[in-house]
């Protein structure tokens, strides 16, 4: 009978199908297990580790780290460990707005920032967060990420608010923008101290709304002797006075200063027509003249370079000597200065330019002699 024939056929096929399905399922499960094991192996987990504290003979020592483009977590952790082991309690780090909100306002891609802050806090480091870098949606097409129209100051203020609120327990200092007295850093436009004062007002107001205790650093001016009317920038001393003239004083708690020594030692006297480490004293004089003498200064970039060919470089031994004397000068002679964060602790990859010779540690974490000497200094060792 046809019916019986079909039943007999199905009766033979069904168990075979079930066996095959089981085999396929087993193979899939095995494959899944292999994928999971491999992915776990290729992504080693990085633990934050126990809470550390920085042991140092000079609590004003600091460095500017360069973790913005550092992808791997263990490298972020190792960098910050080495900063702590060197004896520097302060770091300046950049937290670009465009990385957190690349496509739209409020996007909130905080993973990388969270990672940096988490490890910095665990190492006992005090973070001075530098905020800036405009996402494409907040500026006209074909402009630089350092271009920000006043129409978007409120959007930048929102980012400042979100950043300060998110890290209110970990970050007590923020810097608004970087070197606004250079055309390059002002989106290749003529620099505008009054507009920067307005940016400070917006950012300061929003930051204090998020955390009244956060300290807002303004300025971060590039030391430059640009002549009046220069298309490249404005003399930092003139710019600072112009900021005061524009009413910026109530909108920053600390002045951020950049103090590069060039070929001069840290004791070289300050002069309006010279760029050296002591130029910071001239910024201080302008603050005092404007009734702002109670406010502290923090050096958030600076230092010396020992490239063998760069015209503004010194010998490696001079760099060590000047750097340690600069840290010492900040501690002994400048009570109004709270921190000296020198450029730059380590780059994620070699720049292959003179910039590599500003660093304390190589990209592969080899300490340079300056690192070892700074560590010895921070440990108070005389040997």
């Amino acid at each position: 009978m046809p019916g019986l024939h079909v039943r007999g056929h199905v009766g033979r096929i069904l168990p075979a199908l079930r066996r095959r399905r089981r085999a396929v399922l087993l193979a899939l499960l095995t494959l899944l297990a292999v994928v999971i094991i491999l992915s776990l192996q290729s992504r080693p987990s990085v633990t934050v580790g126990p809470q550390q504290t920085v042991v140092t003979a000079n609590p004003k020592m600091g460095v500017h780290t360069r973790l913005t483009d550092e992808v791997e977590e263990w490298k972020i952790k190792r960098t910050l460990e080495m900063v702590r082991e060197m004896g520097a309690p302060w770091i300046v780090e950049y937290f670009p707005w465009a990385y957190v909100e690349p496509d739209r306002p409020g996007q909130g891609e905080w993973e990388h920032s969270d990672m940096v802050i988490r490890h910095a806090s665990a190492q006992g480091l005090e973070v001075i967060a530098r905020l800036g870098y405009v996402p494409p949606w907040a500026r006209p097409k074909d402009t630089s990420p350092l271009y920000l129209d006043e129409d978007y100051y409120a959007a930048f203020g929102d980012y400042v608010y979100e950043f300060v609120r998110r890290y209110r327990d970990e970050v007590n200092h923020i810097i608004i923008w970087n070197e606004p007295n250079l055309s390059l850093e002002w989106g290749y436009r003529p620099v505008d101290p009054a507009s920067y004062a307005e940016m400070l007002r917006v950012a300061y107001t929003r930051a204090k709304e998020a955390n009244p205790g956060v300290l807002v650093l303004g300025g971060a001016l590039a030391p430059t002797l640009a002549p009046p009317g220069s298309e490249w920038g404005m003399d930092d001393l003139i710019y600072l006075q112009a900021m005061y003239d524009a009413g910026a004083a109530p909108y920053f708690d600390v002045l951020a200063a950049h103090a590069y020594g060039g070929k001069f030692p840290p004791d070289e006297p300050a002069a309006a027509d010279a760029i050296n480490f002591a130029r910071t004293e001239l910024l201080r004089e302008i603050m005092v003249q404007n009734g702002d003498g109670d406010k502290p200064i923090m050096i958030t970039e600076g230092g010396w370079n020992d490239h063998p060919r760069w015209t503004r470089a010194v010998r490696p031994g001079q760099r060590i000597d000047y750097t340690l004397r600069a840290y010492d000068k900040a501690l002994a002679d400048w009570p109004w200065l709270e921190a000296v964060a020198l450029w730059a602790f380590r780059y994620p990859a070699p720049a292959r330019t003179y910039q590599d010779y500003f660093t304390f540690v190589t990209p592969d974490f080899q300490p340079k002699a300056i690192y070892l000497e700074a560590q010895r200094y921070a440990q108070g060792r005389e040997d």
């Binding site: 490696p316 031994g317 990859a349 292959r352 300490p367 340079k368 300056i370």
Partner: protein, 281 residues
């Protein structure tokens, strides 16, 4: 052919045609790629114009400098001209800051860059590098005729002079992990470190090859160990898509090495010869 076979072939015709098209396309691509690789517009232009445009930063004597008349002079200038002469063309030297030279080659603004430039492994996707023509790395310098210290392995218990803060200093500190009894003698300059050896205050100095050559040229009391401790080769930067030029530069360097021109350049600009041999970085 049987009727059935003809029908079968007719059915298979589209598939056969597709295979034929793919094969033809593959053959064309292979041919195009082969011809494309062999073509080198930079080399062609050098040949047709008779000019080789080379960038350098004339601010690093004795490799590149400007003489009183403002003309470029130095080891790299002579090397450039020697290679150009080897090809029968004229070298045209363009001054540019050393930081921008590699980018200028990548952008096609220069045919090549010769400016005491180190090998940069992370730039090999952008430009090509020649074999080394000079070794600028760290070397060990000892008293002439000294048989006690031939390499860093012989430094246990010795006094080692270095420039404080330099790469030599870093390497010496690392060496002390192997030989804790090495006595480090830091000096302010490489010249002072070398002088310490010459005057018997140190058994050896670990300094860069350039400083070592310049010192030993005028002080026969010291000799350079022929084994480089940390290599830092100087190379010629070339466009990546210029395979013929790359090959020609390699051959020219080999020829200049073989006929003694490279040694003669070292003698001319350092006043002495080097025991160091150079080659692939």
């Amino acid at each position: 052919m049987l009727k059935a076979e003809r029908i079968n072939l007719r059915r298979r015709w589209p598939a056969l045609a597709a295979v034929a098209v793919v094969l033809l396309l593959a053959a064309f691509l292979l041919l195009w790629q082969t011809v494309g690789v062999a073509r080198d517009r930079v080399w062609d232009h050098i040949q047709t114009s008779g000019q080789w445009l080379v960038g350098m930063d004339p601010s690093f004597p004795p490799f590149q400098d400007l003489d009183e008349a403002g003309q470029p002079v130095g080891f790299d200038v002579d090397l450039t001209r020697a290679i150009a002469a080897h090809w029968g063309v004229e070298a045209q030297i363009e001054g540019l800051g050393f930081d921008g030279l590699v980018d200028a080659v990548q952008a096609g603004r220069l045919d090549s860059a010769i400016s005491a430039l180190p090998y940069q492994p992370e730039r090999t996707e952008d430009v090509a590098f020649s074999d080394a023509y000079f070794e600028a790395g760290l070397v060990l310098v000892t008293p002439t005729g000294s048989i006690g210290v031939a390499s860093v392995d012989d430094l246990a218990g010795r006094r080692l002079a270095v420039e404080w803060g330099s790469e030599g200093d870093v390497q010496a500190r690392l060496l002390r992990r192997r030989f804790p009894d090495v006595v480090l003698l830091p000096s302010d300059t490489p010249q002072a470190a070398l002088l310490a050896v010459a005057e018997g205050q140190a058994d050896a100095a670990l300094v860069d090859h350039i400083s070592a050559l310049q010192f030993t040229a005028s002080d026969a009391r010291l000799a350079i160990s022929p084994q480089v401790v940390v290599s830092d080769p100087y190379v010629i930067v070339l466009p990546r898509k210029a395979p013929v030029l790359q090959q020609q530069v390699g051959e020219a360097l080999q020829a200049l090495q073989a006929d003694g021109t490279l040694d003669a350049l070292t003698t001319r600009w350092f006043g002495t010869t080097s025991p160091m041999r150079v080659g692939s970085p």
